[in-house]
């Protein structure tokens, strides 16, 4: 690494406003509101549209919901269900992996 070149740190707390989120995933405001109603999205902070901030995870989730709807011809409720099941699969996978490592480490000696 070159110590002479300073790389400015990125701010992970950087969240998105309603407008940024809408522009980022390329959908209209109404669709974002519908995703909030469906429980796919939840503002991390703020009490009103103008002050809402969304996390990076929310942005990824919303983008996935949009892709699932477009690519698989499912409606918003279907996308919400798919996302919940995908979340569950992924946390179960992590769990199985953690437990397997715990067991197999000793079995392999």
């Amino acid at each position: 690494m070159n110590p002479g070149r300073r790389i400015p740190p990125q701010d992970e707390t950087l969240s998105l406003t309603f407008k940024e989120l809408s522009r980022q995933i390329g959908v209209e405001a109404e669709q974002i509101l519908a995703m909030i109603d469906e429980g796919i999205l939840e503002p991390a902070t703020g009490s009103h549209m103008t002050t809402w901030r969304f996390s990076a995870d929310s942005a990824c989730r919303a983008a996935t919901a949009v892709r699932l709807q477009q690519d698989l011809r499912i409606n918003l409720a279907g996308a919400a269900l798919a996302l919940e099941l995908l979340d569950e699969i992924s946390s179960l996978r992590d769990r199985v992996q953690a437990l397997e490592q715990l067991l197999f480490k000793d079995w392999e000696g």
Binding site: M1, I7, P8, P9, Q10, D11, E12, T13, L14, S15, L16, R23, Q24, S55, A56, D57, A59, C60, A63, T64, R67, L68, D71, L72, R73, A82, L86, S90, S91, D94, R95, Q97, A98, L99, Q101, L102, K105, D106
Partner: protein
């Protein structure tokens, strides 16, 4: 340019009906959707399936493709015959909202914007049109300690970009990333403006880093909970013991009650990854028996066998 067998990709016979093709497409789209599938080549397969469907669902494109197809093998080096697209009626707007920019050269040559199938469809973003750059996604491997304390990491990303001459080059790009305290596997860190450049004055996309934990020699992470194996001796198991156990926050004294067996899970509340609420650390007991290497050791074990008269398989007597 390689020849592509769209029927083979879709897994349908040449004489498949439009309904059969639609059904095959929907099934494959669900199977290989990159957001759903865990298969390594899902994204590639998904694009391929979409490309095949784009051709086979459209009777005009399908007829033109069928005429061309005889005599070519999949993967074979392919150049279209000069008159391949004559003798067909084109209605023009053959595309139906699919993003065809990601399709293969094979598709682009036969059915792309420059072909008669392309119609009026030109390249976007050329004039008076600004498009935001695409978001990029990557994974970042961190250690459980990074999440426990929060830290900054310098990562190097290989990013494909077009140089001044329009050639595709890989540029390595260093980024300093702040790892927030308590971040868990699967969460995303967003780096604004580090995605693909926009077109026509559009802003750059963002970079999303998905957090994964690097395998750790001691800790296993499940959500915010931390798991650890605790090897103990048979006498520690039988008599109980006071044992120092490592946690992400440092060593902790732990009481092992007498009679603790292998597989017993003991909880250290709040000693997992930080958060609201913080995770716990689970200590899973594993009894490790020393080998009887010396005469003295063998004597000890034999005496235990005689004195304790213990049968760990008593349950089996009921079934057999």
């Amino acid at each position: 340019m390689k020849f592509k067998d769209y029927y083979k990709i879709m897994g349908v016979p040449e004489d498949a009906s439009q309904e059969d093709i639609k059904r095959a497409y929907r099934k494959l789209a669900r199977r290989y959707h990159p957001d759903v599938s865990k298969e390594a080549d899902a994204e590639e397969r998904f694009k391929e399936v979409n490309e095949a469907y784009e051709v086979l669902k459209d009777p005009e494109k399908r007829a033109a493709y069928d005429k061309l197809r005889g005599g070519w093998q999949p993967g074979e080096e392919f150049t279209p015959p000069p008159d391949w697209d004559t003798g067909f009626e084109f209605s023009g707007g053959g595309f139906t909202g699919v993003d065809a920019t990601q399709f293969s050269d094979f598709f682009e040559t036969l059915f792309g914007a420059a072909s008669p199938f392309g119609g009026q469809r030109g390249r976007r973003g050329a004039h008076g049109f600004s498009v935001r750059g695409a978001d990029r996604h990557a994974q970042i491997l961190i250690d459980p300690e990074d999440s426990y304390r929060g830290t900054t990491r310098v990562i190097t990303l290989e990013i494909p970009e077009y140089d001044d001459h329009g050639r595709l080059v890989r540029r390595s790009h260093k980024l300093k990333v702040r790892i927030p305290r308590g971040i868990t596997q699967g969460q995303h860190i967003r780096l604004a403006g580090q995605g693909a450049p926009g077109m026509g004055g559009g802003s750059r996309g963002d970079l999303y880093l998905e957090v994964r934990f690097r395998p750790h020699p001691v800790y296993r992470i499940d959500g915010r909970d931390v798991y650890i194996n605790l090897p103990i001796t048979p006498w520690e198991s039988a008599l109980g013991a006071q044992i120092k156990v490592p946690t992400l926050g440092g060593w902790v004294d732990m009481k092992i009650p007498p009679g603790t067996q292998t597989g017993t899970r003991l909880r250290l509340k709040g000693r997992g990854l930080p958060g609201q609420p913080p995770g716990d650390q689970y200590v899973v007991v594993q009894i490790v028996t020393p080998e009887a290497r010396t005469e003295e050791a063998r004597r000890l074990y034999k005496r235990m066998a005689q004195e304790l008269g213990y049968n760990p398989r008593r349950e089996w007597e009921k079934v057999a």
